[in-house]
Amino acid sequence: MRVNFTVNGRKQEADDVWEGESLLYVLRERMGLPGSKNACEQGECGSCTVRLDGVPVCSCLVAAGQAEGREIVTVEGLADYARHRDDAHPGAGCAAGTCGTSLDQAKRRQAGPPDEQGAEAAELSPIQQAFIDAGAVQCGFCTPGLLVAADELLETHPSPSDQDIREALSGNLCRCTGYEKILDAVRLAAARQEETVR
């Protein structure tokens, strides 16, 4: 079958999709957007979390056909989504064409000086930057799903309590960090958000 949907503000169409394919599979293997992760593919870990018409869902549990005509935001589009949050059509954008993924690019790891890491900040959404700054990323496999879930939390609860954060992120497993730095990151993003509002 053919599926039409919008991913990170761009109209997409996937052909020859088998009915059993998940949205996660179509994003990763057909759209070239491997940012959403495949840790369990059974709805238990949250690594595959994307926003479907604004609502965070486990994309491994969504049949690709269910996405027909709908808007999806993945971690690849998160920074752009955050920039356009107040627009009438959230997620519309990516005019720069930077939402896609180049594996070549991904393979390059450069360790620039500390201040250069700061200079890249402008490219990232506040929650992405906070995850880096707080040391909330280790292996990073849980990170995309956590970022999408945390971004939605901060959109709906700009100053969440610790219990709120724990509740909102309870569907996202992380095996590396012990979660403390993830809490720190969400608190940090919330605090920075508050400062900007003021």
């Binding site: 971690v75 790891r109 000086p113 724990r166």
Partner: protein, 805 residues
């Protein structure tokens, strides 16, 4: 690479005093951020399951549905005929005479031949144009199994007439084991434990059970094999040790090692579970057979069968002490279940035995550790590696002893705490700081978290936030029946590979000028599995070479081995190799400088010279030249191996020998609340104090300690692979049934980092990754015992153990 305006170069020969604190930024000791952080938060970082190739096929493994059986026949006819299927492989298709692999003993078949020895053993492989096609075709393979009796524990393994898991063993342990179903046995005898027992005023004994834990890294076993034109293969894969994989892969493919080119792709956690091969050989076989790139990605169900687990253990301990609390002796027997294949079992036995009494002074010990062959899932490396199971038991024993002596459990531990110079049961002195008593003091001195945090006063008196209670939003209690407990534990872990292993690492460091800026490139085969090795390598290069720009070259087999990312060894060993290579680069750079500018300033010949902030400076702070000027047009490139001091094997009869390189110590205090009616536990706080020698990156250090602590918490209260004792089948291979801690299960983890330098190690550092996993489990257990008054001798503690139902 960002373009930088060329730094204003200081004319050679013009002395300039650089001010204090102007050393290169981002060096060791600073919490610099991960170089791969931005890629990881934008989704661009390519993990092994993200690999993609034009025209690639998908590989799938068919696994045995029974634990122990003869294979009478395999019928692949229907599978081969399935449209979209390119290859179906069984044992008969293996191309080389070598058909097994293994870390220490080559006992693991690439594909089962004649027999399967555990549930989930790989039997056949399929490559197809869609993963679902491959799965469905594999389901059409018909295998006729004749089931055999299963060996599942020590009694069934060593009973007269027991079925042998491996007949005709020829490995080097067979000569000293009492039974062929025992992989390895290590006794350690020191002093005279029986005579010492006679002097004891109090003796406590205990039997303990440690369940089978899974590494449960999130990134599934996966990778891409691409056939190359010369008949070889390129493999992009997530692993902990590229060169160890290579050594095992090449012989079964029938290829020389240089025709198997391995590149590390992004690793989504490892924790020991990627030390053994999983899909590596299978993907290569399919790629070589079909002539097409083949991608394999395990789903979570398969992942539980695709890697080894932590050894479950049964431990029996006897501790004795005098009336005033001094340990007289320890006797113990540790039985580890290694499952169907050896994996790292022999080394796990060495660790469990040599660290069996923990960080305490005991002169008289009688220790025995064994690992069994059984038809249970194979077990091997996991964070803590044999020391975890022992720590769980000896710390429970220390609490028991304290109770018997009517002493404070922390005081009893401090009274017997190891210090620098203390001898291990193996006779080896601990020749670096051993702040065991101090770590305990620190966690104990920390103020306790306030009681009943779930109670919050409101207008009508008080209200309850059920989210903060055991059971959480399930709303199982409003505080009635909830009791608090506090428990302590401390542990001792070795760092690096022990028992005479040649535990070296290699680093290539290149320095050159790019766009007017001096740039260092660090190339190692170190597997970055999330621990942050790439961050510290850049920090080390900045510190040693005085540059701010450092590029980390992707890890591959084009450079010498870095050894494994395990045993808390990478920062020590590969960090040491990077440091060593940087020092050699620095010497060469200074040589070039002397050649070019030596005549302009006498300091080139006479002073101690350093590289700082992109300049050559004297130890007095005078700038002699910029690195850009020194290196213009030249590049310096050095590749060196680096070794820590050697170790030796333990004597097979007495266990004596200088077997370990370094030690790592952590202590925990756990505070729990237990709903005694339903048996639910909520851990309120899990404070840790650890000595790290030198924190090269404090942010990463704390992150590692919190992560290790949480894995220990998991095994204390929820994590266990459950194997049916009658059939040896795994009952819970999914994240629905194998539970790991969520953010709701994990408390705050305050961390107190101590930095007592180990003079033998680079920068004085200590390996840190594993120690926190040791003591967190017994601390939580101690706290639950403290809350409930129950004995609780097994982990994980389940609600029925607390309610007695």
């Amino acid at each position: 690479m960002a373009l930088h305006p060329r730094a204003a170069s200081v004319p050679a020969g013009t002395p300039t005093r650089i001010t204090q604190g102007s050393q290169t930024r981002g060096g060791i000791g600073e919490s610099t951020l991960r170089p791969d952080g931005t890629l990881k938060v934008t989704g661009e970082f390519a993990y092994s399951s993200d690999m993609w190739h034009e025209d690639m096929l998908w590989g799938h493994t068919l696994r045995s549905t029974v634990a122990h059986a003869e294979i009478r026949s395999i019928d692949i006819g229907e599978a081969v005929a399935t449209p979209g299927v390119y290859a179906v492989l069984t044992y008969d298709d293996l191309p080389a005479a070598m058909k097994n692999y293994g870390l220490e003993i080559q006992d693991t078949p690439v594909l089962a031949h004649g027999k399967v020895r555990h549930h989930g053993e790989p039997v056949a492989l399929v490559a197809a144009d869609h993963p679902e096609t491959a799965r469905r075709a594999a389901a059409k393979i018909r295998i006729d199994y004749a089931e055999l009796p299963v060996v599942t524990d020590e009694a069934s393994a060593t009973a007269p007439g027991a079925v042998l898991v491996h007949e005709g063993r020829t490995d080097h342990h067979i000569g000293h084991v009492p039974h062929p179903n025992i992989v390895h046995r290590q006794p350690i005898v020191r002093g005279d434990a029986d005579a010492a027992a006679a002097r004891a005023d109090v003796i406590v004994t205990g039997d303990y059970v440690f369940g089978m834990q899974d590494q449960a890294f999130l990134g599934p076993e996966s990778g891409l094999a691409v056939p190359s034109e010369d008949g070889g293969v390129e493999l992009y894969v997530a692993t902990q040790w590229l060169h160890s994989d290579l050594r095992q892969i090449a012989p079964v493919l029938g290829l020389p090692e240089d025709k198997v080119r391995m590149t590390l792709s992004g690793v989504g956690g490892a924790f020991g579970g990627r030390e053994d091969l999983s899909m590596q050989i299978h993907a290569c076989l399919l790629a070589l057979r079909t002539g097409k790139p083949v991608k394999m990605v395990y789903n979570r169900f398969e992942s539980f069968f695709g890697h080894v687990h932590r050894h479950p253990a049964k431990l029996r301990y006897e501790h004795g002490a005098t009336r005033d609390g001094k340990l007289t002796h320890v006797k113990c027997r540790i039985v580890l279940d290694g499952g169907a294949y050896a994996s790292a079992s022999p080394a796990v036995v060495g660790n469990a035995s040599s660290l069996a009494v923990g960080p305490y002074v005991v002169e008289d010990v009688d220790i025995e550790a064994i690992a069994l062959y059984s038809n249970n899932p194979p077990c091997g490396a996991m964070r803590g590696f044999g020391a975890v199971q022992a720590c769980f038991a000896y710390e429970a024993q220390m609490d028991k002893l304290a109770a018997a002596l009517d002493m404070d459990p922390v005081e009893l531990r401090q009274l017997n705490a190891m210090e620098q110079g203390t001898l291990l049961p193996t006779g080896q002195p601990v020749d670096s700081p051993a702040p065991v008593a101090e770590l305990l003091r620190r966690v104990k001195a920390r103020p306790l978290p306030p009681e009943q945090q779930w109670l919050s006063a409101d207008a009508d008196g008080s209200s309850v936030d059920v989210r903060a209670l055991p059971g959480g939003l399930s709303n199982t209690t409003h505080g009635e029946g909830v009791v608090r407990g506090v428990g302590y534990a401390v542990g001792l872990k070795n760092v690096g590979f022990s028992e005479g292993f040649d535990d070296y690492s290699t680093a290539r460091v290149r320095m050159e000028v790019i766009n007017g800026e001096p740039v260092a490139t660090v190339h190692t085969a170190m597997a970055e599995v999330g621990q942050g090795g790439v961050t510290v390598h850049a920090q080390i290069a900045r510190t040693e070479l005085g540059v701010s720009q450092v590029t980390i070259h992707p890890a591959d087999t084009q450079v010498g081995s870095a050894g494994s990312t395990s045993a808390s060894r990478q920062t020590y060993v590969t960090g040491g190799a990077v440091k060593n290579s940087c020092e050699a680069v620095r010497e060469q750079v200074l040589e070039i400088g002397r050649r070019k500018f030596g005549t302009y300033h006498p300091a080139w010949a006479t002073a101690e010279l350093l590289l700082e902030s992109g300049k050559v400076v004297t130890d007095g702070g005078e700038v002699l030249a910029s690195l850009a000027d020194v290196l213009e047009g030249e590049a310096v490139d050095v590749e060196l191996e680096w070794r820590h001091r050697p170790t030796e094997a333990f004597d097979l009869r007495t266990g004596q020998g200088n077997g370990h390189v370094q030690y790592s110590f952590a202590a925990h205090r756990a505070v729990v609340e237990v709903d005694t009616e339903l048996g639910l536990v909520k851990v309120i706080e899990l404070a840790c104090a650890q000595d790290v020698g030198k924190a090269l990156n404090p942010l990463s250090v704390v992150g590692q300690i919190q992560g290790g602590t949480t894995q220990g918490l998991g095994v204390a209260v929820m994590e266990e692979i459950i194997v049916d004792p009658r059939t040896a089948k795994v009952r819970n291979p999914s994240f629905t049934d194998y539970l790991i801690p969520t953010i709701l299960d994990t408390p705050t983890i305050p961390v107190d980092v101590l930095e007592l330098a180990d003079d033998h190690a680079p920068y004085g550092l200590r390996g840190i990754g594993e120690a926190p996993t040791l003591s967190s489990t017994p601390a939580v257990l101690a706290a639950i015992r403290n809350a409930t008054g129950l004995e609780l001798n097994r982990t994980p503690v389940r609600p029925e153990h607390i309610t007695g139902t």
